[in-house]
């Protein structure tokens, strides 16, 4: 009969038992997952069973990890996104969350630029940890992404983006994510990137502060290659802060928009 071990097809004799397979294939494994659930006891395998052997703390080989991580992906997605390069202008509330989502999706390469360091007020929404306070955001993000998916290549730039350096930093990206805080910087990035690369899409964000209704957040397609995600009005200001739920909604809509663009589908 045919079963799947770490998503690879393996032919075994009928009557083969789970722990016998472990002894044969991965005797050091601490945890055995069968058909999506940890196996509490030995059992006889069945046709089409999907088995994963895990040794705690061991990072699987790249081919195995890819197969395992992408087992829940829509078929064909990962093969396409692993060839892509996505730029992230900003590694704060939006940028860090978009980066995590794209790393989990298996995007091949990320180019991340941010001049800032992690401070305590960031932790209400940004994808960093207490023991990372004071670190450059790009360094901490790279380390965090490596723990999620070590096979995503992450290029970092700890610098403030300007009209002069945007084209050079993002010269290889297939799509750029605007993840800035300041409104004027958002527009600066739009103009400098699209002037240099008029045929490449940019996914922006505007209007994500507070805790207003989720359904007011939309993907606004303003041109063939310009998408602005948010409610377009909820400005971050005293009395209306930035918080994880709404920032996360916009960030994940940005990530999904990027994914759709990479797959050649209409973004909205």
């Amino acid at each position: 009969m045919r079963i799947y071990v770490a998503e690879h097809a393996v032919d075994v004799d009928a009557g083969t038992r789970l722990y016998e397979l472990r002894r044969r294939m991965h005797p050091e494994a601490d945890v055995v997952v069968r058909n999506g659930a940890p196996a509490a006891a030995d059992c006889e395998l069945a046709d089409d069973d999907r088995v994963i052997f895990i040794r705690r703390g061991e990072v699987p080989a790249e081919a195995d990890l890819e197969a395992l991580m992408m087992a829940r992906h829509t078929p064909g997605v990962h093969a396409r996104v692993k060839r892509a390069t996505v730029g992230l202008a900003g590694a704060g509330g939006l940028g860090s969350a978009v980066a995590v989502a794209l790393a989990r999706t298996g995007v091949g390469r990320l180019v991340v630029a941010d001049f800032d360091v992690i401070e305590p007020s960031n932790l209400n929404r940004q994808q960093y940890f207490m023991d990372q306070l004071g670190l450059l955001k790009v360094d901490a993000l790279k380390a965090n992404l490596a723990r999620i998916n070590p096979y995503v290549r992450v290029e970092t730039h700890a610098r403030r983006l300007t009209p002069d350096n945007v084209p050079g930093i993002f010269q290889d990206v297939d799509v750029l994510v605007e993840a800035f805080d300041a409104a004027a910087a958002k527009v600066m990035l739009l103009e400098s990137f699209t002037r240099a690369f008029p045929d490449r899409p940019i996914v922006m964000a505007s209007g994500l502060a507070g805790h207003g209704p989720c359904e007011t957040i939309k993907v606004n397609r303003m041109g063939a290659r310009v998408h602005v995600i948010g409610d377009l009005v909820s400005e971050a200001r005293p009395g209306q802060g930035l918080m994880a739920p709404r920032v996360g909604i916009v960030a994940h809509m940005q990530a999904n928009t990027v994914l759709r663009l990479l797959l050649g589908e209409t973004a909205e």
Binding site: G90, K186, A209, G223, L232, S234, L242, V247
Partner: protein, 92 residues
Amino acid sequence: MKIKLIYYAQVRRAAAMESETVTAADGIGLAEAVRQAAERHGEAFRTLVLDDAGSIRPVVLVLLNGVPATRGESRALRDGDEISMLSAVAGG
């Protein structure tokens, strides 16, 4: 010639309309078309999209026929051109 202006979010609210098609003089540039829109729509619109010098504010996204226009867009508008405007807000 006819040009169309499309307004988003606060710009739409300030103009009290989603879009408008106007007759413009031949040779008019993008910045001038925006200034003329400000004259039509009053102070709230003007302060939202223009600075004290009458230039388009750096927080305003402007697209010309779906393509981002730079601050210094200088070409003369053509019949059928569309200008889209959104005032970006802080947060990210």
